[in-house]
């Protein structure tokens, strides 16, 4: 550290106490040479005059091994600072006994201690504080938030991208529902009639609805209990229930297994009023057979049934956010709507 006019006295004290190195002493002496105007009350021994000497009193003030009048201020200050050893405290006590006139001076030293006024406070602490992000809480919050995000993402994927198909049927008025048929959502479908020969090799035909669904050939037989009755070896159209008046189309989703079981029974369960659709779920439809259904040769023909080619209307509808593919199919006056989530 450089010796300056602000700290040279401390260096001199260190010099007096023998705490300076040779280089430091040389630096101090150079400083004093360069600053001859410094405190004139400096003890004479610090001057550069080789002839100068200390008086006995002055010299004695440089010794601190015991207390005396020359160095009492140092001891009094050290006493207030709490720097005195036990031995020095005893020396101080003895000194005061021998010199009671200095007691008042020591008392003044004891008073020369500053006491903070605690009523003085800094009023704008809030202006100094900084916002704190509780990392611990923040990390816990992040952890839960991450789990929640994962759950939501998983649910979203599961819900929107599952293979499940929402099938929704919209009803229109049932009109001229001529028969039953199979609907295939992506093929133009025409119900078929089977033509066969009886035992007398006569051509006979009976309405046997067939449709290819994937690799399956599905057919529906009609039975004698069906209405209207046909020739015995012709399986009539199933009895149909008139529901047109009420426009109440009953739509029941049947399991494939149930339908197959019904059809496999002996005798087969009369197909009453149910038909099979292939819109992912087999559905039972209540059908209406109008009176004007014509018979041709006693047989129900496709024409007489009024079955028309089904025009599949595939229409992609939906809001982008919903990712629906809606297929609208109309069959014999009945509209079906099949909605598949993407």
């Amino acid at each position: 550290m450089m010796i300056t006019r602000n700290n040279y006295e401390a260096y001199m004290l260190d010099w007096m106490e023998g705490n300076l190195t040779e280089q430091q002493i040389a630096a101090l002496l150079r400083f004093l040479d360069e600053n001859p105007d410094l405190d004139a009350t400096l003890p004479e021994f610090l001057s550069l005059d080789d002839q100068a000497h200390l008086s006995d009193q002055e010299r004695s003030s440089l010794f601190f091994d015991s207390i005396h009048e020359g160095n009492k201020d140092h001891f009094f200050t050290a006493y207030v600072e709490g720097e005195l050893t036990k031995v020095q405290l005893d020396q101080l006590e003895m000194f005061l006994i021998d010199h009671p006139n200095f007691q008042k001076e020591l008392d003044r030293f004891k008073l020369a201690v500053l006491i903070p006024d605690v009523s003085i406070i800094y009023s704008n602490k809030l202006g100094l504080v900084q916002p704190v992000v509780d990392l611990k809480f923040y990390m816990v919050f992040l952890r839960y938030a991450a789990v929640l995000v994962l759950l939501l993402t998983f649910s979203y994927v599961l819900f929107f991208y599952s293979d499940s198909t929402v099938v929704r049927y919209s009803k229109s008025h049932v009109r001229d529902l001529k028969g039953v048929g199979y609907l295939q959502d992506d093929l133009e479908l025409t119900p078929l009639l089977s033509i066969d020969r009886d035992e007398e090799n006569q051509l006979v035909s009976f309405p046997k609805k067939k449709v290819v669904v994937g690799e399956d050939l599905i057919s529906m037989n009609e039975y004698s209990e069906s209405f209207p009755p046909v020739e015995s070896n012709i399986i009539p159209i199933p009895e149909l229930r008139d529901v047109s008046e009420t426009n109440d189309m009953s739509l029941v989703i049947e399991e494939d297994r149930v339908i197959q079981e019904e059809m496999a029974k002996t005798p087969p369960v009369p197909i009453q009023d149910w038909a099979l659709t292939t819109m992912e779920r087999r559905a039972r439809l209540a059908l209406d057979v109008p009176e004007h259904v014509q018979f041709e040769n006693g047989l129900y023909t496709a024409a007489s049934l009024g079955l028309t080619a089904i025009t599949n209307k595939q229409q992609e509808i939906g809001r982008k956010s919903d990712h629906f593919k809606t297929t609208k199919i109309e069959f014999a006056g009945v509209k079906f709507e099949r909605i598949v989530r993407r």
Binding site: M1, N6, N7, E9, A10, L13, D14, E17, N19, D39, D73, H74, F76, T77, A78, V80, E81, E105, R108, F109, L111, A112, V113, L114, I115, P116, D117, V118, I120, I121, Y122, N124, K125, G127, L128, V129, Q130, P131, V132, V133
Partner: protein, 159 residues
Amino acid sequence: MNAKEYNNLVYQQSDGLYRFALRLARDEESAKDLVQMAFEKVWIKCEEIQAEKGKPYLFRTLYNAFIDQSRRKKHDRIDDEYSLSNVSQPSHDLKEVLHMALNQLPDIQKSAILLRDYEGYNYQEIGEVLNLSESQVKVYIFRARKHLQLFIGKIEAVL
């Protein structure tokens, strides 16, 4: 030092720092500015400062800011000589007497004794704040203490 530790420093040290600044600057607005400046500097460097070093860093920053301010204002009160001429009315109140005596001390001595008595710092800690050696701190405190004592004696003589 994180934000939480910094805020603890604000709540724990701002009053003491303000009292220290008030005694140095002898003006409330200047003292508040010094406190604000000191905390701002600590906040800017808070990541470099260890929490346990926050207090001495604060006081050192404030002291240096005060010295810079004083030099700019050319407010030089380096004067080892106490004088009763500045005392308009001698006071019976010891606290006022001490404050009068304190105001006559050079800034370095005033700072050292304030840190000693107000904050309870030892010589080494004061040396860290004021950039002095331990022995230099001791010298300044001894001189300050003697000045206060002499001032009290003179007041008593006047009274």
